[in-house]
Symmetry: C2
Subunit: 420 residues, 2 copies
C-alpha cells in the first residue's frame, strides 16, 4: 500500500484527478496443485515462480489498495473496471494462487460498487475467458501435464463449453478463444458514459461459456462439524482467536467420540484457552483429560507440520479438520473508506493463511494415502465462517468467496488424483 | 406467427438479410392481482386493458417467432438483443401478465444463444430497471393503489435498492431511475462488433439494483405432494394428459387421508383414466369408491369454477392443489429450428394455462377466506414439473422459469393481502 500511495500521489500531483481506473495488472501465480504451491519465496523452485502471498498481493491487494487510495481523487461519473477471470468461478486445475484471489476480488467489487455508488463512482467487472495468446497455450499445456492428460485436453474441454462459433481467418465458423481486443472493447464500453447507469455489473467475454452449476457453496453454510463421522477419529481444529467457539466444538466432538487437537494461530488465545482448560481440570478432578492445543503460524508452515508430526506420534493421525478464520471479529463495516490494517489482515491472515493450512493438510493426507496401510476413510475438511450469517458482513463475504473457490478447485484436483 | 412470417418475408424481399434484431416490442399487460387478471378479452373492463393470452403472445411469443423466422436470414456475426426487465426476477406486485412471460424469455434467450451460436449468431439480454418516464410513474402509482400503500411507496422502495447515485440537472448526486438513453447505449453496444465475443450475456441497466436473493426455486423441485398435510383435506390435482402419474398421486394422497378431485385438461386422458378406474372397481368390488375426475379447460375458465362448485357441494371445499403441465412430454429438443406447434403449445397451453388455473384458485381461496367460518388452514399449491430433471429439457426449463416467477409474485401478493 505504501508504494501504491506514492504512485497515486505522483499521478494526482500531475493530473489533479483520475476518471478511469482499470485494475488489469496482476500476475499468473504458481501453476501447481494445492499441496505443491510455493508458500514462501524459499519454496519457489522454478525461476519465474511466485510465492502465494505475492500472488494474493498482486491479484487482490493491488486492486483493493488502488480503489481505496485512488477513489477519493475520482469525481462522480468516474469508472473503475476490475478485470477478473471466468475461471474464478470454475474448476481450474492447479491454479489456486490465481483464481482464489480473483474470486475474492469479484465479491470485493460488488461491495465497492455499493460503497462508491454513493459518491457516483461506478465499479464493474469483466470476466475474460481463455484468451487467444501464447500464454494460454502454455497455461493449458502445463495443466495437461499436471493432470496427466494428453496435450490439448484442457483446451478442448473449455472450447466445448463455448456456445458461440466464430469465423476464423478463412471465414469458417469454428469454436475458438476470444481475443484480447474483445476484452479491450468491453473495457472501453465500461469506461465510457454509455454505461453511466451500470454498476456492480459483470460482462463475460467468453464466447458464451457455460460452466457447470456447482453446489460447493453448501459447504460454506454454518456447519457444526457434526457432519463429520467423528467417532474413533482425530479431528484437528485450526482456530484463530475464537476461544468459546473452540471450547464448544471440542466438547461436541469429544462427545461424538473424536479425539481433538487444536491449533491456535493466536498465542494469546492459546494461553487463555489453556487457562480455561486448567480451570476445567481443577473442577473435574484427576479423571479429566485435557484436549491438546498447540500453536500454529501459517506464515511459518513448519509449525503446522510439527503439529501433524505430534499427531502421528501420539494419536492415529488426523482424519478430519475444521478450519476457523484467523480472527473471530469483523474488522470494519466498509471496504473502501478504511486504513490498511483490515485489508492486510484479510489478504494475508485470512486468505493466504487459509490456503496455506489447506495446502499443508493436502500434502499431509497425500503422504498418508500412499503410505502402506493407509486408512480407508477419506479425510474430511470443513471451513467454518464467523457467526450465523455473512449478509451484512463485508469481510466475511470476501473471505467466503475465496474459500468457496479454494474448495471448488481443491475438490477438482482431489477427484483427478483418485484416478492415479 | 403467420403475421411475423409475412413481415419477415417483406423485409427480406427488400433487404436480403438482417444483421441486428432487437426484440423490444411488447406490451405492459394488465396491472392486476393474480385473482383479477383479465383472462380473456371479455374480462377486460378498462379500455386499454389486455387479456392474459395477448400479453404472453406479445411479450414472449413475438420475440420467439421473430428469432425462429428471422434467424435463417441472419449471417454469422449477427446479433439478437432481447429486452427483458429486471422485474422478471423480482417481486413485482400486480404484474404477473408482464413479468411471467419475460421470465420465460430470459431462459429462452439462453437456449437460443446455444442453438444459434453454432450459426455464429449472438443472442444477449438487457435487463432495464425502472426507467425515468411517465409510464413508470403510472405503473408505480397503480401499484401503490393495489397494495393499499401511500403514493410514492413503490418508487421509494425500488430506488433504495440502487447502489449508484447520479447527478441530477443541478449537478447534485441522488438516487434516480436510469434513462431510456442508458438502455439504448447498452443495445448499441450489444449490436456492435465490440461484442463479437458475447453471447448469452446479460446487461442490467439499473443503477446497480440489488434484489433480495430468493429461494422460491425450491418450490420447483420434484416435490411429491407429500409436503401437503393431506389428512382430512380435499386436494385438487390439475392434470394434463399424465394418467399414470395421476393414478400414483391419487393413491398416495388417499393413503394420507385426503379426498382427491382430479381436473383433466385432456378429454382423451380423462376417458382413459375413467376406464382404468372402472377396471380397479371391477377388481376391488363394491367397496371401492372411485376418485372424482372432471374435465377442465383453462381456455374456458368457467369449467374450473364448475369444478370448484362441485367440490363445494360434495366435499368440504378444496384445500390444496397440485398442478401438472398440460402435456407430459417434451415436444422437441430445439427452440429455434422448429415449427409453430410446440411454441404455441408452450405459450398458450402451458404458460397461459398455468396462470389461468392459478388465477382461478387464487380467486376461489380469496372468496373462501372472507366467507364466514373460513378454514384456519392456509391453502397450499404445488406445481409439478415433468420428469426428474429439466437439465436437457428446453421446454421444461422455459416453463419452470415462468412458473418460478409466477410463484414469486403470487406469494408476494398473498403476503401483502394478509395485512388487510
Amino acid at each position: 500500500p505504501a508504494a501504491v500511495r506514492a504512485g497515486v500521489e505522483a499521478i494526482i500531483g500531475r493530473h489533479g484527478h483520475i476518471d478511469i481506473l482499470v485494475n488489469n495488472a496482476g500476475s499468473t501465480g504458481a501453476q501447481r496443485r494445492l499441496a505443491e504451491i510455493p508458500l514462501n519465496e524459499t519454496d519457489c523452485d522454478l525461476d519465474d515462480e511466485e510465492a502465494l502471498s505475492t500472488s494474493v498481493a498482486n491479484l487482490l491487494g493491488m486492486a483493493w489498495h488502488l480503489m481505496r487510495i485512488l477513489s477519493p481523487h475520482m469525481p462522480p461519473g468516474s469508472a473503475i473496471i476490475n478485470i477478473s477471470t471466468i475461471f474464478s468461478r470454475a474448476e481450474y486445475y492447479g491454479r489456486i494462487p490465481y483464481v482464489v484471489p480473483k474470486a475474492a476480488l469479484n465479491t470485493l467489487t460488488q461491495l465497492a460498487a455499493r460503497e462508491l455508488g454513493t459518491r457516483g463512482i461506478r465499479v464493474n467487472t469483466i470476466f475474460p475467458g481463455p484468451i487467444e495468446s501464447e500464454r494460454i497455450q502454455t497455461v493449458f499445456q502445463r495443466m495437461d501435464q499436471l493432470k496427466g492428460r494428453p496435450e490439448g485436453d484442457t483446451a478442448t474441454q473449455f472450447l466445448a463449453t463455448m456456445r458461440l462459433y466464430r469465423a476464423n481467418d478463412q471465414g469458417q465458423l469454428e469454436r475458438r478463444f476470444p481475443t484480447i481486443c474483445d476484452v479491450a472493447d468491453a473495457a472501453v464500453f465500461l469506461a465510457s458514459d454509455e454505461t453511466a447507469a451500470l454498476t456492480g455489473e459483470t460482462i463475460e467475454v467468453t464466447h458464451g461459456m457455460e460452466l457447470p452449476a456447482s453446489s460447493e457453496t453448501s459447504l460454506l453454510a454454518r456447519t457444526d462439524l457434526r457432519t463429520i463421522d467423528a467417532n474413533g477419529r482425530t479431528t484437528l481444529i485450526c482456530a484463530g482467536d475464537q476461544i468459546e467457539e473452540v471450547m464448544a466444538l471440542t466438547g461436541m466432538l469429544r462427545t461424538c467420540g473424536s479425539e481433538v487437537i487444536i491449533g491456535f494461530r493466536s498465542e494469546a488465545a492459546l494461553a487463555q484457552f489453556e487457562q480455561a482448560i486448567g480451570e476445567s481440570r481443577r473442577l473435574a478432578g484427576e479423571s479429566f483429560i485435557p484436549p491438546i492445543a498447540l500453536p500454529i503460524d501459517p506464515r511459518n508452515p513448519s509449525t503446522i507440520d510439527a503439529l501433524f508430526d505430534w499427531a502421528g506420534e501420539n494419536t492415529g493421525g488426523i482424519h478430519a479438520a475444521g478450519i476457523l478464520p484467523a480472527s473471530g471479529h469483523e474488522p470494519a463495516t466498509q471496504v473502501i473508506d478504511i486504513d490498511d490494517a483490515p485489508v492486510e489482515a484479510l489478504l494475508h491472515d485470512e486468505i493466504v493463511g487459509s490456503i496455506i493450512i489447506a495446502s499443508r493438510l493436502a500434502r499431509y493426507w497425500q503422504a498418508q494415502r500412499i503410505a502402506p496401510g493407509a486408512r480407508a476413510r477419506e479425510p474430511r475438511v470443513i471451513f467454518l465462517s464467523n457467526g450465523a450469517g455473512t449478509a451484512g458482513n463485508p469481510y466475511g463475504r470476501i473471505q467466503s468467496a475465496a474459500i468457496e473457490q479454494l474448495i471448488r478447485v481443491w475438490r477438482h484436483e482431489a477427484r483427478s488424483e483418485e484416478r492415479f
